[in-house]
Symmetry: C2
Subunit: 116 residues, 2 copies
DNA sequence: AACGTGTTCAACCACATGGTTGACAACGAT
DNA sequence: ATCGTTGTCAACCATGTGGTTGAACACGTT
């Protein structure tokens, strides 16, 4: 479940255009047309991109007259950072352990108290 | 430059299998065969996945006899967290500002979408 | 030298994705 | 009621991606 959502989130952010839209949505909500304006593609293409972002839980679309303001759901970021931090930490721990091993292997080391 | 690399990193991590490999590589380096073992796919497929991870800068492959131990390059994580944190912060600032505005507006007023 | 192991390369297939255009639905304005 | 605007849906096309199998390369072993 989370596994799948994480995949969608990463996939959604793998596109520069979508990342740019997220960046702009971080500043303020925007309609589909507003979002499409800066790019040289059809509005339909942007609508598709928004669908991807929405399926990933990164944005939500509400209804206001005939326009649909898009809103960034920043909560999903936590999902990513949690995943990243976990393995970053694991890798760092590992480096630390490796350093310890290397210190211990130091042949010229004096017989002081060993690192615990 | 970073733009493109970021795309590759996100795309690389959009695949559950590749994320799983990263998770395992966070614990220890591994050869292609070791990495392929748990999955029900060909070694060639894993080799391709590793190429994707390598192009994203997430892993490096060295040479040791005829095997090529794969090593996690945890530094790339920083790239992601930096991107994420930036917009998360921006979005949070924005919420804070919005809250301030709402407070300032007497609660008698209806919540109307403010044009920028 | 010959063989087996570990890994990659090449060609191929199925499917997903990003783009297009055209039609349609929903709503505001005239 | 009709028209223009906003946005989505559907069909289509080109390209990318993950999988396969078969061949080749590199290295250790016999």
């Amino acid at each position: 479940m989370t596994e799948d959502e994480l995949s969608r989130v990463f996939a959604a952010l793998a596109d520069p255009r979508r990342r740019d839209m997220v960046a702009r949505l971080a500043i303020r909500d925007a309609t589909v047309n507003e979002l499409a304006a800066p790019y040289d593609v059809s509005v339909q293409a942007i609508s598709k991109h928004l669908r991807v972002l929405e399926d990933a839980g990164l944005v939500s679309r509400s209804k206001d007259g005939q326009r649909r303001p898009v809103h960034l759901e920043a909560g999903v970021f936590d999902l990513m950072t949690k995943w990243i931090e976990r393995y970053r930490r694991e890798a760092e721990d590992r480096f630390r352990r490796l350093d310890a091993v290397l210190e211990q292997m130091e042949p010229a080391a004096e017989r002081r108290g060993a690192a615990s």
